[in-house]
């Protein structure tokens, strides 16, 4: 059920504020399950925020980010009705994507 992103984008003055909540276990690879077996590492490695076709933020993430991570980004130049898109890739080849329009 991973892969989902909830996004809200709101224009405040000149700044567009993006809030994204991602569904991901973000396993570090250092934990063990109840049977003592290592739980394989599974975490987001790259996050990109797009305003239309333009990249406004790119982030390299690792195992230190919490499960179901929350990302807040502010950028200039957005207009209400524009599309904001967030994508991620993880270390197991999984991807997630979500989009919204600026309010």
């Amino acid at each position: 059920m991973a892969g989902r992103i909830k996004i809200r984008a709101q224009k405040k003055g000149d700044i567009t504020e993006v809030k994204a909540l991602m569904r991901h276990p973000m396993e570090t690879g250092m934990r063990k399950d109840e049977a003592g077996e290592a739980i394989p590492a599974h975490f987001i490695t790259e996050v990109v925020v797009f305003h239309g076709d333009q990249t406004v933020m790119q982030g390299h993430w690792g195992a230190a980010v919490s499960a179901n991570p929350f990302l807040g980004v502010r950028f200039e130049g957005g207009e209400p009705g524009d599309t904001v898109r967030v994508t991620w890739e993880d270390n197991q080849g999984g991807t997630g994507e979500g989009q919204t329009t600026i309010r």
């Binding site: 059920m1 991973a2 909540l21 569904r23 396993e27 063990k32 109840e34 739980i39 499960a67 179901n68």
Partner: protein, 265 residues
């Protein structure tokens, strides 16, 4: 005499230091997160599961009667635990879901109850998701557990008895931690569940997303984990003991507002 006085001052000081007015830091955290509770994903997953055909009968849970009629989910959660004539039992929401899965969907009881709550590394179980969605379907409603049937009132009396029953290697009862207000254990303020305010706040905020676990936990899990912390035998989901304790808490909480899923440490 002087020594006695010295120690009583020390005791008073240490008790004073353990007093906290409110859950300050976590209230602040909740304000910052606003509506961005990761439980929103679990609510969606629970809703999908409700409408997914499963089991040998390939049925959805839409025919499940949660007490307000077949398939009525809005406002059903706040009436639990309640008596059901078809099973002749007082059930909590988890027990009722299990009943619907085994009867309507024809699923095997053992497999349905094998792992009700997530273990380390899981992203949530079916029961957790369904309960979370059902709680969200009662958001803003007044907590009003049924207490009309004699069995429901008996459940409350039994729950009260268990709440104050001291047992286990630590000689703990639920009341040991939960009959005083404005006290804390480690850094957590613990609610006084014998008071309306404490019970309403607790009952109304579970199921909740536990930040430290990255999972939504249900009230059934909360009860089971309290048993673990007391070093009592493992509490079974849907057992009389679990339902009795939940009835005691829900009835004490009656009149409060449902605001689950909450956000917890």
């Amino acid at each position: 005499m002087k020594t006695v006085f010295f120690w009583s001052v020390c005791l008073a000081l240490s008790l004073g230091a353990a007093r906290v007015p409110a859950d300050g830091v976590f209230d602040q955290y909740r304000d910052l997160m606003g509506d961005d509770n990761p439980a929103v994903f679990v609510i969606d997953e629970g809703e999908e599961l409700w409408f997914t055909a499963q089991g040998p009968k390939s049925a959805t849970l839409e025919a499940c009667d949660l007490g307000l009629g077949s398939g009525v989910t809005a406002g059903a959660y706040v009436r639990f635990p309640r008596y059901f004539a078809d099973t002749n039992e007082v059930m909590d929401v988890e027990a009722r879901l299990v009943h619907c899965m085994t009867t309507i969907q024809g699923r095997d009881l053992e497999s349905v109850t094998a792992k009700p709550y997530s273990l380390r590394g899981d992203l949530g179980t079916e029961i957790e998701a369904l309960v979370t969605w059902l709680a969200a379907e009662s958001e803003g409603e007044t907590i009003a557990p049924e207490q009309t049937h004699a069995a429901e009132r008996e459940m409350y009396v039994l729950g009260e008895e268990i709440f104050f029953y001291r047992a286990g290697p630590h000689d703990f009862s639920c009341a040991t931690c939960h009959e005083q207000s404005e006290m804390r254990i480690r850094l957590q303020s613990l609610p006084d569940l014998t008071s309306h305010a404490g019970a309403a706040n607790a009952w109304g905020s579970w199921p909740a997303y536990r930040i430290s676990q990255g999972l939504v936990r249900t009230m059934g899990w909360r009860m089971r984990d309290c048993f673990r912390q007391q070093r009592w035998p493992e509490l079974q989901m849907g057992s009389t003991t679990s339902i009795a304790l939940q009835t005691y808490m829900a009835v004490n909480a009656a009149g409060g507002v449902m605001s689950a899923p909450g956000l917890k440490r």
